[in-house]
């Protein structure tokens, strides 16, 4: 996306029919924006109400905003769902997965670009082809397979951090390798040759010359995978289980919502807490996030 361009008035709007057109546009735009934001607003309003107030007046302004902290405390103290634990687990899983996905995908993509042997092309094609496989077709066999492998090597893969991180590497690497492959292709080979002449080994050439150049592409890879992993539900549900030792935020929100009696004060406040980190991140890194998500899809 070109920067700066958004600041000028683009040509398609052309000359509008005077002032009325402009007023209609502004009003319509603002109303639409409000409409899009309403669900978030209602969550915020109702996070500061008691369960009773939520049912009887869901759109009224809260009488006492401090109730939001009471609701948060109730969630944190809830004996059946360890929300803080789930938050920490989500953070650990997301960070570790992103680290292994970006490092290993970059290594893999670089080796596949630079190696001109036929097997390298075949492996790359396999990564690309596998992107069409939907999660639904591998999910049940994967759980059984993880159980068998875990029992065989005596390192449990189900219900553990390393198991789910390994699964995220498997699911995340094909697209990441593909994106990085496209970028690395355009890095001039001369750069790497110069490093070799200066005495760099193949490994050092990668870590000291190629890796720093990949920074802009890493942002795309991190954002695409990060948002997916933070929000993901089915894979954690299947690998970690809904009552396992390790939990994630979507699993915790589901366990609040899944109880027989709908406690909306708790559900909405936990939804608010789940959204908060992403919204804060978006406010600070809006440009990168939009760029990353759009570029990732177009490729």
């Amino acid at each position: 996306m070109r920067q700066g361009k958004t600041l000028q008035a683009p040509a398609i709007a052309g000359k509008r029919n005077g002032k009325t057109g402009a007023i209609v546009l502004e009003t319509f735009g603002f109303l639409l924006f409000l409409l899009f934001m309403t669900p978030f607003l209602i969550v915020l309003l109702n996070s500061a109400k008691t369960a009773r107030e939520i049912i009887y007046s869901p759109i009224a302004l809260p009488e006492n905003w401090a109730l939001i902290f009471t609701n948060i405390k109730t969630i944190f103290d809830n004996p059946s769902t360890d929300y803080i634990g789930a938050f920490i687990d989500s953070a650990i899983i997301t960070v570790l997965s992103l680290a292994v996905i970006s490092l290993f995908s970059a290594m893999c993509a670089w080796a596949l670009v630079r190696n001109k042997k036929k097997w390298a092309t075949v492996i790359f094609m396999a990564f690309v082809a596998a992107m069409v496989i939907p999660f639904q077709v591998v999910m049940f066999p994967l759980v059984r397979w993880f159980k068998i492998v875990g029992d065989t090597i005596r390192i449990p893969l189900l219900g553990t951090y390393h198991g789910i991180v390994f699964a995220y590497l498997g699911f995340g690497c094909s697209m990441s390798v593909f994106i990085l492959h496209g970028f690395i292709k355009n890095i001039p080979l001369e750069l790497e040759e110069a490093a070799t002449i200066d005495g760099c080994s193949q490994t050092r050439t990668f870590f000291n010359v190629v890796l720093p150049l990949l920074q802009p592409t890493f942002i795309t890879v991190l954002i695409l995978n990060g948002i997916w992993i933070w929000n993901d539900f089915l894979l954690p549900l299947l690998i970690l289980g809904s009552n396992g030792r390790v939990q994630t935020i979507p699993l915790a929100v589901t366990s609040f919502a899944g109880s027989y009696l709908k406690q909306w004060d708790l559900i909405l406040t936990s939804a608010l807490l789940a959204m908060l980190p992403i919204i804060v991140l978006f406010i600070f890194a809006q440009r990168y996030i939009i760029k990353g998500m759009v570029e990732g899809s177009i490729k």
Partner: protein, 296 residues
């Protein structure tokens, strides 16, 4: 530069290992399981041929899920793209706060389907109901997700709210890549706003439409999270003389066949059919759109 093959192999190894263990093996094991009597409990698994495949086509729930998934996908392709396109016009217009609008429309896309589904369940079952009753709007007097004939539309509405801002961004990128001088020239030649959009902008964006329609098709067809948290497949209705769940899309039907009913092999067979359908539909779509691109 002399490359050492074994160094390359070492570099490829971590990804290749994870990829094979997590996708390739389970994929092929899954195809085998779809032709067995695997139930998730009994360790002895025996071959049953294509029985699971023939069985699913006489199940009212599966047939209904299939139809409703097609309907849901079709509604979304139209709704998400039309709304996304209109939003992109607004986001590239002269509106003062267009950058704020753009960010606002995009935000729902960042929040996971599970969380959004619960929020919208509250909006449909409590907020809209409350508003409808106090204003006396008959249409809203009962929840839109509690009636079989409106539930799919309600789900599409939420999906559009969530996804249109993302599609908008792809259109915005495409609009910005079109040279201003073309639009100015058309304007000078007397083409009005709607003519400029329909005769110049849309044909020039053919490439973007291929991508956006592909994305809406595949994400709608694979929809699970929102389905799970917003309606959980309900409400119940009768179809072909059986009680079925009226908003249970295919992905969720696969999940509930395995989870609620413990019929793992049957769920796996449905997943294989689901995979084939997805590939066929997306190939047909890309083929049609690519031909349009050439013509444009």
């Amino acid at each position: 530069m002399k490359r050492r093959g074994w160094v390359d192999a070492l570099f490829i190894f971590p990804c290749a290992l994870a990829f094979v263990m997590v996708i390739i093996f389970p994929f092929f094991i899954g195809i085998y399981y779809s032709m067995t009597n695997w139930d998730g409990v009994n360790p002895a698994i025996s071959w049953v041929g294509l029985a699971n495949f023939t069985g699913m086509f006489s199940q009212p729930q599966f047939l209904y899920s299939f139809m409703v998934t097609l309907l849901y996908t079709a509604i979304n392709i139209v709704l998400v793209n039309v709304v996304g396109f209109l939003l992109s016009l607004l986001a590239t217009s002269k509106a003062r706060l267009r950058n704020l609008y753009r960010a606002g429309f995009f935000v729902p896309n960042l929040i996971g389907g599970i969380v959004l589904g619960y929020i919208w369940q509250f909006l449909f079952n409590n907020v809209l109901l409350n508003v409808g009753q106090s204003l006396g709007i008959g249409f809203l007097s009962s929840s839109l997700i509690s009636k079989p004939n409106t539930v799919i539309w309600a789900m599409s509405f939420v999906n559009t709210w969530q996804y249109a801002g993302y599609i908008m961004m792809i259109y915005v990128a495409s609009i910005q890549s079109i040279s201003d001088s073309i639009m100015d020239a058309a304007s000078v030649d007397g083409a009005n706003y709607f003519k400029r959009i329909s005769k110049i902008l849309i044909p020039m964006m053919a490439n973007a439409f291929t991508i956006t329609i592909f994305l809406t098709l595949t994400t709608s067809f694979k929809q699970f999270d929102l389905n799970f948290s917003l309606t959980n497949g309900g409400p119940a209705m009768r179809f072909m003389g059986k009680a079925i769940r009226s908003s249970q899309l295919l992905a969720m039907d696969i999940y509930s066949t395995a989870n609620g009913l413990n019929r793992m092999a049957e769920a796996q067979a449905k997943a294989v059919v689901f995979f084939i359908l997805l590939v066929v539909f997306s190939l047909v779509q890309v083929y049609i759109n690519k031909r349009r691109e050439v013509e444009a």
